[in-house]
Symmetry: C2
Subunit: 435 residues, 2 copies
């Protein structure tokens, strides 16, 4: 069916709902280059303001999915995936997938690269020498059958509509739209074959979602959209006011993941990883109760089974599994520059975004999609909100290969900490959930 | 100064004001193809929703003007122009300019072509054999010095920013934005050298502006923007519920203009033309009082001086002035098909837009910018809101060169009239004014 694109833009602009045929027409014509970027961006901005009813969101998700291939796993697999709305130092997937797999879960994970202040799971994994993320659907399925999980990049054939439209949203100020976010996340997570999905929805000053009510609005869209396609979705709200763990930067984060699975205590990572793992085991019916799930998870880590799973996964995806025993095999930075506190007090808040952007300058993240990463660069930062700082104390280190660049960002890192004389409470990491 | 276009889009999207430097950067980069269409259309849609403060509108107007050449006339000329926000059968300029000129006014009029359901003054004039509208600035000034007025097309050098952005607005559903409309109208009317400006702001179901409060909002933007550039602006609100005059179609409208200047009584044209002419004479200080203006206007028409002015103007712009004495020299349609009333009653309302679109199908208007016009085609329609109709009565005629096409639109023309059994009041043509 043919429509007049301008009439459809004006219809949405006026706050009316677009029908299935209209959305189908607009998106598929756009993909075929029959509707130009400037009309799509006008529609996206109209959607930003007028929002979408749940039925429209479900339809848009369907149109996205139908634009490409769909991967399917047998029902008996009870596949389960996790999606995070993104945070600085968020390396959770790299521990979570081996743990859940060690507990009997099956995880088909199609992940992304980093852009802006947050890193991407694929970039982190690619800091492992030899590691590959570009596998065909068939290879993806085979790896999952062999290891229990796989983390690969999105092929050109999976939800191409979302890829094109996401790239356009990124450059037209239309990223922050709950309906568009929902269709983007859900289309990929449904097309990749996940029958169950746990979402780590970050809330806080550093996250796109600033408060619980907005988080709940998004959570409901995600859950209802999943349901429409037979996917069970559970949402965990987590605090995003501090970077996760101590290490930020690609190879440094892999190191931290290995150390955690080796038994090292890292409080925030421990809480969040286990909470998400429990939810994944429950929702995919691998375990029946929270207690059973918690027990299995503890055993998977303490027995070394989760680390074994990470080892097998790295091996089958052509990386060097020896990094699981000797993290010095990961890329190492030439310089380690101490970050020294310039005043005493308690950490009131941390601007994670500012830290993320500072680290881009030493190559830990990308400015544009073409930027080259320096896998070894990054930072170790020990202080969290509520911690006490003494003037002259080492808050952590900057790791870099160009000393000048490293020195240049010290003040930016220090400025990211709001330090005052009054004692502050530590923050809760898990803020709630919705199923 | 360089900015990040996405940040500027998000700034406007969030309801903040853009600074002079920011607007300047966005528009000039767009004109230089350094900012793509899709970012401009996202910004335009954000402006549609967030509107603009008067200072922003004035800045945008300035940025538009600065994108091209400016025409200037000596202060002593007291140049005055009229702009209409567009209506079906709106041929007023073609009578108004000769009348005001005959009264001593100086009118530098840069006009547009028709697109959609409303016709363009240039198209109407070009139906006169030989008539030209493409003159250089110098020729434009010379014609005005000689005849007192000129009506030409916008050169590539006059406000190029508006031309590009208007074309984009047309295809992205962002035409109906009062701030963007203001900057578009005012930049052209200031750059063409009009020191005074009267605006015929159409209000009604068939117009873009549906009610007086919205009209007043636009009028205030226009007046305040003019003031900023030393241009006096006066706004007349006029009713746009019926087509203007009896004739619609390019050559048919020229014929009607000539007939009016020859002394024929056409009520609505008479009221509107004289009201606008009075306002133009007053605002440009050619006359001191309304009464003096009214007297001059009556004389200009009854003495034949206004028709003489039209004759000189047509001649100097290379058209055949003999059409002022013999309108059969204008293009004539092969067929004249009666439109016969299919029921009795009183005309409650007329859908002018529907009539405009129907006449496009016989070549009286353009579907796209490339469409060829059939100058001879159009319609004569005698009935106005409040008139009585008897079943079987001829409401008017369709003029066309393809009989089938003409027959096909009869029902559409008839459907444009809402006819009911109850008596309705005639409508006032002038609804108010703001200076």
């Amino acid at each position: 069916m043919a429509f007049n694109p301008v009439e459809l833009i004006i219809k949405k602009r006026s706050g009316k709902e677009l029908t299935k045929d209209e959305l189908q027409y607009f998106v598929t014509s756009y993909i075929k280059n029959e509707i130009p970027d400037y009309q799509m961006s006008a529609l996206l901005m109209a959607i930003f303001y007028q929002k979408m009813k749940i039925k429209e969101i479900q339809t848009l998700t369907k149109v996205y999915i139908d634009s490409g291939k769909i991967i399917k796993f047998p029902k008996a697999y009870h596949t389960v995936d996790k999606h995070s709305t993104g945070g600085v130092g968020d390396k959770i997937s790299i521990m979570l997938a081996p743990i859940v797999s060690a507990c009997g879960g099956t995880i088909p994970m199609i992940s992304g690269r980093g852009l802006g202040h947050t890193g991407g799971t694929l970039d982190k994994l690619e800091s492992i020498p030899g590691f590959r993320t570009n596998f065909s659907d068939k290879e993806f399925t085979k790896i999952i059958e062999k290891v229990g999980f796989s983390i690969i990049s999105q092929s050109d054939e999976l939800v191409p509509a979302d890829r094109s439209i996401y790239a356009l949203r990124d450059v037209t100020g239309t990223v922050e739209s709950l309906p568009l976010i929902t269709a983007s996340i859900m289309s990929k997570k449904i097309a990749e074959g996940a029958q169950n999905l746990v979402i780590d929805l970050k809330i806080g000053s550093g996250a796109f979602i600033k408060d619980i009510p907005t988080g709940k609005e998004l959570a409901e869209m995600l859950i209802k959209t999943g349901k429409k396609f037979g996917q069970r979705v559970s949402v965990l709200y987590s605090n995003m006011n501090s970077p996760l763990g101590f290490n930020i930067g690609n190879a440094l984060e892999i190191k931290e993941c290995v150390e955690y699975l080796q038994g090292k205590e890292i409080e925030d990572i421990d809480i969040l990883t286990k909470a998400l793992a429990r939810e994944m085991l429950l929702i995919s019916k691998v375990t029946k109760t929270k207690e059973e799930a918690a027990e299995k998870i503890e055993k998977a880590i303490s027995s070394g089974k989760a680390l074994d799973c990470l080892r097998s996964f790295i091996k089958v995806q052509k990386g060097d599994p020896a990094i699981c025993d000797d993290t010095s095999l990961l890329p190492q930075a030439k310089f380690k520059i101490p970050v020294v506190a310039d005043r005493s007090g308690w950490v009131q808040s941390i601007n994670s975004q500012k830290i993320g952007y500072a680290l881009i300058e030493i190559g830990a993240g990308r400015k544009t999609l073409d930027s080259k990463l320096d896998y070894a660069s990054g930072a170790q930062l020990y202080k969290k909100v509520g911690d006490k700082i003494d003037k002259g104390e080492e808050l952590g280190y900057i790791f870099c290969n160009k000393k000048n660049d490293g020195n240049n960002i010290i003040s930016k890192i220090l400025d990211s900490y709001v330090v005052e004389d009054k004692i502050t409470k530590k923050e809760s990491l898990i803020l709630g959930s919705l199923t």
